[in-house]
């Protein structure tokens, strides 16, 4: 892999995202993602000397709620999107990490 900072290791990224790509897709996405990096490069041109890094665009802090329980889902509602289920739980392929 070339050490160009605007190039993307498409195999690595695809693996992280758990998606299979065809060669044609790899070529296309590699270029597109590389372009995205180039756009971000423009930010490097801005002088941020003396500016505190922000975690959020708005200077708003402490959006908090009191610790008071509210009604949630029934098991049936919670599992409406689960194609495979048993004993009110979602069935997934066995993955032991």
């Amino acid at each position: 892999m070339a050490e160009d900072k605007n190039s993307i290791d498409i195999d690595y990224v695809a693996n992280l995202a758990r998606i299979d790509l065809s060669q044609e897709e790899k070529d296309r996405f590699q270029k597109q993602l590389g372009d995205v990096l180039v756009y971000f490069e423009k930010l490097s041109a801005v002088d941020v000397e003396g500016v505190e890094p922000m975690a959020h665009p708005f200077p708003v802090y402490n959006v908090l709620e009191e610790d008071v329980v509210e009604e949630g889902f029934t098991a049936e509602e919670a599992l409406m999107n689960a194609k495979h289920q048993r004993n009110n739980q979602v069935i997934v392929p066995k993955v032991v990490e």
Binding site: A55, H56, L64, D67, A75, V92, K94
Partner: protein, 486 residues
Amino acid sequence: MEYEAVIGLEVHVQLKTQSKMFTRARCAYGEAPNTLTNPVVMALPGALPVMNKEAIRKTVQVGLMLGCEIAQSCKWDRKNYFYPDSPKNYQISQYDQPICDGGFVEIEMPGPSRNVMGEHRKVKLTRIHLEEDVGKLTHYDGESLVDYNRAGRPLIEIVSEPDLFSADEAFAYLTSLRTHLLYLGVSDCDMEKGQLRCDANISVRPKGQKELGVKVEIKNLNSISGVRNGITYEIKRQIALCQKGEGASIVQETRSWDADKGITFSMRSKEMAHDYRYFPDPDLMPVRVSEEIKKTLADALPERPFAKQERFMKEYNLPYTITSVLCPDKALSDYFESAVKAHNNPKAIANFIANDLLRELSNAGCDMAHPLEGCKIQPEALAELAKLVDEGMISKQIAQDVLVIMFETGDAPEKIVEEKGLKQSSDTGELESICSEVIANNPKPVQEFKDGKDTAINALKGQVMKATKGKANPKMVDDILRKLLS
């Protein structure tokens, strides 16, 4: 060559809140699967997480208790990974701005014997951050089942520096950390329920070397004894590898402790290192903890457990052994102090609690993590019992029997003494006749006593106590016997 181990612990602790970290779905343990969720927990599109104020307060309390620097401002990051325990495919955590920085946990090492205090040392902490817990997977043949009840519960991660050097130290650290958290009441810290979980980073190095060796992470140390046994095993394994030399080397990896087999085994073939791609969570605003809140919480902190123990030894003149029974349990030590306030005989009260009361609680099958829950004896009643002994109303021996009845019925000690006729006999005439009888029936100890063996009188005293069913005042019996024998 001699090797030494270097250990750092990562301890996850579930905070005791009513609702989850970023939404108000209920927190509970042992509920039917997937009944404690809502759109935020299940990561439905459009759901907005909102922080739990109480979880933040509790984390700050822990930080203050453990001497951490509380960050003026902290933020939330997404830790991205694919695993079915997280419906979002990321966990909300804190990457580079944790709530608490630094700090320490004071530990006590085992002393030279059980009744001597061991050496104390401060183990350095790296940080404490707040995050959300994930769901629970149960593995079967070919498939796994997922329950999201636990997902989203507030969880703190307490990270120590590589500042522990044996399995015993790791054990002492975990015990002390747990005691501190229980004192604060921020968590029940029940390892069996997963409320406290511990991973260990272990390496070994030749003694005297500064650089750390290759680090191995051990998971699934699911009990306090598991922590000690798992770490002991792993240190031995690594040292054996080092000593083999040639070709045998320690691989940086994650291993799992198998408590049944008593071994650690490699968990994953690391085809690729984890790349969590942390980035700030755009849904959540940063948190600022004001000086005012810090001060309020700091003022409300409980006395630290080791400070309390030291005070008990000084202020009440209690031996180390008994303080090490009372002080690790805040409720128990508070109970003791309430009783002493009602009647100032700390030693007698401490002995009643540590010997008699705890035995009864244990026999009654109480949960010894919270032994006083459901205890019918109020501290004032226990104080009254000690007072009855001090006033000569009943003997120590009878008091122990009264305590057993108090434990069963919850009745006041005077009432029991009255009803069962246990009042110590101080009737000199009656006692004198019993003593005379005992002297007449026990010529052997009488002769021995007269021959100068003073301790022979104990045999006679024992007979008198037996005849009076323990109700006689021991001091009076001694006086009368000596008078009659002289």
